[in-house]
C-alpha cells in the first residue's frame, strides 16, 4: 500500500516476521510502514463483526492499526518502531 521514496537514506535493512512471513524493514521505520510496504492492507479484524481495519489516523489516537507482538501485547503499529527479529501478528 505504500512505496519507499528513493531519495531517503536508509541504514542497513533487517527482517521482521509478519504473520510468519519475513519482511524487510529499515531502522527508523514503524511497524505500520514495514507492513504497508509489503503491499498488505489489513492490520486487524474487529471483535464483533470481524471487519478488516488498518492505518487510519497515523498519530496514535484511532487505534485501528493494533497488531499483536509475540508476547501477546497489542501495540499501535503507527507508533511502534520496528526492530530486528520482531514477530508480529495481524489477525485477531
Amino acid at each position: 500500500m505504500v512505496k519507499r521514496l528513493k531519495y531517503i537514506e536508509r541504514k542497513e535493512a533487517f527482517t521482521i516476521q509478519i504473520d510468519g512471513e519475513s519482511v524487510t524493514a529499515f531502522p527508523g521505520e514503524t511497524l505500520a510502514t514495514a507492513l504497508l510496504a509489503t503491499g498488505k492492507k489489513k492490520m486487524r479484524r474487529t471483535l464483533k463483526n470481524k471487519r478488516a481495519r488498518s492505518y487510519f489516523c497515523g498519530m496514535g489516537i484511532c487505534n485501528e492499526c493494533l497488531v499483536r507482538l509475540e508476547d501477546g501485547t497489542r501495540v499501535r503499529a503507527c507508533q511502534t518502531l520496528a526492530y530486528p527479529s520482531m514477530k508480529i501478528q495481524t489477525e485477531e
Binding site: 527508523g28 492490520m43 481495519r53 488498518s54 492505518y55 489516523c57 497515523g58 498519530m59 496514535g60 489516537i61
Partner: protein
C-alpha cells in the same frame, strides 16, 4: 510496574505536548529559571505540525515543502539555550486530582505538578460515511505522517477529498513525490473559494502558497472537482472504489449525480477539532461549539482554565494554527512564571500585553478557518442505516438513531446505553458525529450545554503496568 504514591515526583511546571504551544511555553518559563518538565509520546519534540523524519532515516534532499521549518529551527535554537527535562516516548494516560499525572514510564510513573499546561493539540474532524472504516481510507494527516516521518508515499490511485487548504497542500506534496493522485474533491463551491481568497489577501504569503499548490496540481494534470463529496467507499477487505456526487452548498450530495471511481487510497480531511481528553480528565469546564462540532476548555485571557493552576494552549483551545499556538504558549508560560514567583505582576502584564496584541492581529486566521471548516448539515445525509458511527465499538447509525428516538438526549446517555465512545479511541472519532445527530433534535441553547466525561486511560496501556508484578505467579511458586 505498580503505582503507589511513594514513587510520586513533585515538579514545578509540567507541560503535556511538544508541539508549538508546548515548546513555546517551556522556553518562556525555562528562560526565567523555572524547572520545566515536558512530556511527549514521540522520541523527538515537534508534535504533529513539525513532524520530522525519524532517524536514522534521512532525507537526502528537500522532498517536502518547508512548511514551518524556519519556525521549528528557531524554536530548537532557543531550546538549546535553556534547560528543560524532556521525557520522550512517554504516554500520559491519566490526569487525577491535584494535578497528578500518570504515565507509562517506569522511571516517572506519577508526577505531581505545581502548575500544569495541557497542550494536547488537535486531530482531524471525523466525518462518518458508508465504508469509512475500510483499509485504504485514511486521514490526510495520516498520509502526511507517512511522507514526513517515514519517507514513504501511498501506492496506487489516490483520491483526496473533504474541504480546505490541506487537500491542495497534500495533493501537491504527493504528486511532487511521484504519487498518482487522480483527483481532489472539494465540498465547497469554487465561487465560495473566490470569496475566501479575498480574505487571504491579509496574508500574501499564504495566498501565494495556495496558488503554488494549485499550479503544481495543474502541471501534473490533477483535476479539482469543486462542490463534490465522496458518498461511499466500497470494497470487501479493502477500498476498491468510491461513489462520489455533486453537492449543494450545504454539502448535501445530489444522488442523481452519483458516479463511481476505482480508487486504492482515499485521503480525507474536513478540518480539525481540538483534543480535549486531558482537559476533560483534569476536570476543566468546557464550552461546546455545535457549529464546529468541538469542545474547548473555558479559560481566562492568560489561558488558565477554571481549575486553578491548570493551563491550556494551542489548537486544543480552538483551531488557530501554529502562529496562535506559539503566542498562547508564551502567554501561559509567562503567567506560570509569575505565579511561581519568578517575575513580578507588572512585568508579566507588560509581556502579556505585547503578546496579546499580536494575538489579536492573528485572530482573523482563526475566524477564516472557522468559516472554511464549519460543519454543514448536508454531511449528515451521507449516513445510511449500517454506517458505522463508533468505529471502536462498531455501533451503527440505525442503532444510535433508535436510542435517540427512544429518548436519549445526551452524549453521556448514549454512551452508557450503547458503549459509544467507550472504546480505545475514547470518543474522539464519534462524539463530533453524535453532536451532529443531536443537533437535529435539540435546540441550540440545549446543544451548547452538551458535554462528555473522559476517564483514564486516555491511551491504551497494558493492564500489567497497573498491577503488582504478577502476584499470582508468586503464589504459584510457593505451592
Amino acid at each position: 510496574m505498580f503505582y503507589n504514591r511513594d514513587q510520586m515526583e513533585n515538579r514545578d511546571f509540567v507541560i503535556i505536548g511538544t508541539g508549538p504551544a508546548g515548546i513555546s511555553a517551556a522556553i518562556t518559563a525555562a528562560k526565567s529559571g523555572i524547572e520545566v518538565t515536558v512530556l511527549g509520546e514521540d522520541p523527538r519534540i515537534g508534535g504533529q505540525i513539525f513532524r520530522q523524519i525519524i532517524p536514522p532515516l534521512q532525507a537526502q534532499r528537500h522532498y517536502i515543502e518547508t512548511q514551518n521549518q524556519i519556525l521549528f529551527r528557531r524554536l530548537n535554537k532557543e531550546l538549546e539555550k535553556v534547560h528543560i527535562h524532556f521525557l520522550s516516548n512517554t504516554v500520559v494516560w491519566g490526569i487525577f486530582e491535584d494535578k497528578i499525572i500518570a504515565t507509562d514510564s517506569k522511571d516517572h510513573p506519577l508526577i505531581k505538578a505545581k502548575k500544569l499546561l495541557i497542550a494536547e493539540g488537535a486531530y482531524e474532524t471525523p466525518v462518518a460515511f458508508p465504508g469509512w472504516t475500510l483499509p485504504g481510507v485514511m486521514t490526510l494527516g495520516g498520509i502526511q505522517i507517512l511522507l514526513k516521518s517515514q519517507g514513504v508515499i501511498p501506492q496506487g490511485k489516490i483520491l483526496i477529498a473533504g474541504t480546505g487548504p490541506l487537500l491542495y497542500f497534500t495533493a501537491a506534496q504527493l504528486v511532487k513525490n511521484g504519487a498518482n493522485v487522480i483527483g481532489v474533491l472539494e465540498a465547497s463551491p469554487l465561487s465560495q473559494w473566490m470569496k475566501w481568497i479575498f480574505q487571504l489577501m491579509r496574508s500574501p504569503k499564504l495566498l501565494w502558497k495556495g496558488i503554488q499548490y494549485l499550479l503544481i496540481l495543474k502541471k501534473h494534470r490533477v483535476p479539482v472537482y469543486y462542490s463534490h463529496v465522496v458518498v461511499k467507499a466500497q470494497g470487501e477487505e479493502h477500498l476498491e472504489k468510491i461513489v462520489f456526487a455533486k453537492a449543494d452548498k450545504h454539502w448535501k450530495p445530489l444522488r442523481r449525480t452519483e458516479k463511481t471511481m476505482k480508487v486504492d487510497i482515499l485521503g480525507l480531511n474536513w478540518g480539525f477539532v481540538p483534543s480535549t481528553i486531558f482537559s476533560h480528565m483534569a476536570g476543566c469546564e468546557h464550552e461546546c461549539d455545535p457549529l464546529m462540532r468541538w469542545w474547548i476548555p473555558k479559560t481566562n485571557s492568560n489561558y488558565e482554565t477554571l481549575r486553578e493552576g491548570i493551563f491550556v494552549a494551542g489548537d486544543c483551545t480552538g483551531i488557530g494554527g501554529v502562529k496562535l499556538a506559539v503566542l498562547e504558549g508564551k502567554i501561559a508560560g509567562i503567567e506560570v512564571t509569575f505565579q511561581l514567583g519568578r517575575i513580578s505582576k507588572l512585568m508579566a502584564d507588560r509581556h502579556q500585553a505585547r503578546l496579546k496584541k499580536s494575538l489579536s492581529r492573528q485572530q482573523w486566521y482563526y475566524e477564516f478557518l472557522r468559516k472554511i471548516y464549519a460543519f454543514r448539515s448536508g454531511l449528515l445525509h451521507l449516513l445510511s442505516d449500517d454506517t458505522i458511527i463508533c468505529r471502536c465499538e462498531e455501533i451503527d447509525y440505525k442503532t444510535i438513531t433508535k436510542i435517540i428516538e427512544d429518548g436519549a438526549r445526551h452524549i453521556d446517555q448514549i454512551k452508557r446505553l450503547l458503549r459509544v465512545g467507550m472504546g480505545r479511541c475514547q470518543g474522539r472519532f464519534c462524539y463530533p458525529t453524535l453532536l451532529g445527530l443531536l443537533a437535529n433534535i435539540l435546540p441550540l441553547n440545549e446543544l451548547r450545554k452538551e458535554d462528555f466525561s473522559a476517564r483514564p486511560p486516555a491511551k491504551p496501556i497494558p493492564l500489567k503496568i497497573l498491577s503488582k508484578e504478577s502476584p499470582l505467579e508468586e503464589e504459584n511458586n510457593k505451592l
